[in-house]
Symmetry: C2
Subunit: 403 residues, 2 copies
């Protein structure tokens, strides 16, 4: 089940990126595709952000290493069904072996290949099964393969996640297309979020890192299902340069479209969140600092009591107030706090709004998409994050997965 999520609309290929999808049988008894290969044109630049989890997976370690050693990445190899995490030295060797298989087929250095894995933690990667399929992937590389790739990287996602946008700059069309997967910060013991976005704009390697950082901060770093950060999270931004349009992070029009693509992808992960029945936007305004705004937003987003009230469509403002009151920020002044559910004011200057009625609150809570807005009336910082409710199905999905 997902909250207002549908099959992606038609995806626009990005000149300079070819994709192939295959089946290595990584997960037993599964017929679904579990292998995706990206081939990037020679002049493409690539930027990456990885999980901050200190127990990061073998492919994350190898991908970081290859990015340091080689500024010309030409292939991304992604497998689903196995996270290659908690696998020690053997896991590193397996990840490296798949890079070597791709590099050998392409006749390049292994550092031109970045590996990515998503799936079960703690099982060794069946790298031989993967390597045997790689030659056939090279036969199938084509530009119009994004939807198949979005499906190929899914684990327990119920829906593929992808989006395309076009904009015109200097009279030329620039395309941005991206796919991602993820359905909790970690699925049961799935190591989760992967995102790949490509544009045909011309962007220098250094500029691309800044664009990626900003876009990820405004999207994938603003979502939470349960506060758990996966060992395998990675997000990649590719600029092939084929449109001939040069941009950098000062190009507002490009950056807005890039943010839009990233936010659509990030929100689709929340809409497909584990057991989600609500898509919840938490907005904190007029905070003393961005750090305070984010701490407060996440305290509300992670409160099991707020999340279960959302599941119950119950306008239980006492729980939101209690979460605000315990947030680890020093700047809070309770008699300045305004709290809104949608457009309905629940709390004004720290006290129940005189015109608030249970009925008004309930009418907002019945919706699938709900906005909780807190105005701290202290400063000028604001933030918006997206989360889900906490349902029976969240417990069911996470309790029954291995039993």
């Amino acid at each position: 089940m997902s909250v207002g999520l549908s099959e992606p609309a038609k995806l626009i290929p990005v000149k300079g990126v070819k994709l192939a999808v295959g089946h290595a049988g990584i997960k037993k008894n599964s017929v679904k595709n579990d292998l995706v290969l990206f081939e990037l044109c020679e002049q493409a630049t690539v930027a990456a952000v990885f999980t901050t989890n200190k127990f990061c997976a073998a492919p994350v370690i190898i991908a970081r290493r290859h990015l340091e050693k080689n500024n010309s990445v030409r292939y991304l190899l992604v497998n689903s069904g196995n996270a290659n995490a908690g696998t020690g030295e053997q896991g590193l060797q397996s990840a490296l072996s798949t890079c070597q298989a791709v590099a050998s087929e392409a006749n390049m250095a292994e550092t031109s290949v970045l590996p990515f894995s998503t799936g079960v933690i703690g099982a060794q990667l069946p790298h031989k099964k993967i390597n045997v399929v790689i030659p056939s992937l090279f036969q199938q590389l084509k530009e119009d393969n994004w939807l198949a790739a979005a499906k190929g990287i899914m684990t327990t996602d119920t829906m593929p996640k992808a989006v395309s946008r076009r904009l015109t700059l200097d009279g030329k069309v620039v395309t941005i297309t991206g796919i991602c997967k993820g359905s909790g910060m970690i699925k049961p013991d799935m190591a989760t979020m992967l995102g790949y976005v490509a544009t045909d704009a011309v962007i220098s390697s250094q500029e691309l890192s800044v664009c990626l950082k900003q876009a990820a901060d405004a999207s994938f770093n603003c979502i939470t299902v349960d506060g758990d950060t996966s060992t395998n999270d990675a997000c990649i931004l590719i600029a092939t340069g084929n449109s001939g349009v040069q941009v950098d992070q000062s190009n507002t029009e490009f950056m807005q479209t890039l943010f839009d693509v990233f936010q659509q992808l990030a929100q689709s992960i929340i809409r497909d969140g584990e057991g989600a029945t609500k898509f919840v936007t938490i907005q904190v305004d007029q905070a003393a600092s961005l750090t305070d705004a984010r701490e407060l937003a996440y305290t509300i987003a992670h409160s099991p009591l707020v999340k279960t009230a959302l599941f119950a469509s119950d306008a239980n403002w006492g729980r939101i107030l209690a979460a605000i009151g315990r947030a680890p920020i020093s700047s809070l002044e309770i008699d300045r706090v305004d709290l809104f559910l949608g457009d309905v004011c629940l709390i004004q200057k720290g006290l129940p709004h005189p015109e608030y009625t249970e009925q008004k609150g309930q009418s907002v809570m019945q919706e699938q998409d709900i906005t909780i807005r807190v105005n701290l009336n202290l400063g000028s910082a604001s933030t918006t994050i997206w989360t889900t409710d906490l349902s029976y199905d969240y417990v069911k999905i996470n309790a029954e997965y291995r039993s």
Copy 2:
């Protein structure tokens, strides 16, 4: 349902403390007692700790104020059924009015009375219903009334929580008896944890604050159900002095017994936690600092993925490892981490233990009481906290409460 919790054994009165229990009908259609009055002897000293939630309730504000103004507290008045939180100026007046009613009956200053409330947030306290019952409470004050008091302060607790201990010091018997209530950090929108512990030892007011701080830090500050901190939490330690035995925080034997009482009470809250099917001890050893140890322990304790695995009796070490890896501590070195479930080693120096089998892990997870132990092998700090699993019933209790 509770995890291995039974009715309290016989409670030993504490000379110098009398208790009365009554019914004010604060919660509609409830016949259970909802009012408890403590009377303390003249020379009794009293120490208190209150919630750190910035949206604290009216009685917390009044109790703090009275403690500042008056170092001779003689009465504690506790009501269940209404938290008097989120009630603004009117709530403060209501709390004050109940203190005045007690003070007037006792012919004392209102600052001799501390008010406490627990129950629904956001409804005005029906102080008139309370005040009319107060004279009759004075008729019923008696020393042997602790169990009735433990029942009178319950809200959605399924079991009264109380414990008595005796020790002999200088050839004289010293008694410590305490009661508490609470079943989540916040019950649905119940404002939750209250604790009252009395001893007949002689302890100066200043010493008593230190004893309370230390005992609370080793008990009520080491438990978590869902990370939510109530607006009404309070814990009170009373020393009546009637045993004639003088103690302070340097008396190891007394402090150990005090800690024991506090820990039994705190653990009984966890055992009666919302939807709890497991009593979980999380122990972090050899951390670089106590702060790191506690941050790590709470990150594990609050991880919904760890909690649902506990509910499923699933030895899903990938989730515990991922929680350790994302804990906000800088000192972690993953290749030093050892992880144990009970006596079974899952992870040794950051990697799966070669002799670990799924069966060994499952046999520990089948138990009701489970210990997760992490050894960071970095320093000498350790901590122990107690928590519950996350079950369907947690969601049910918190989602269905008001609907």
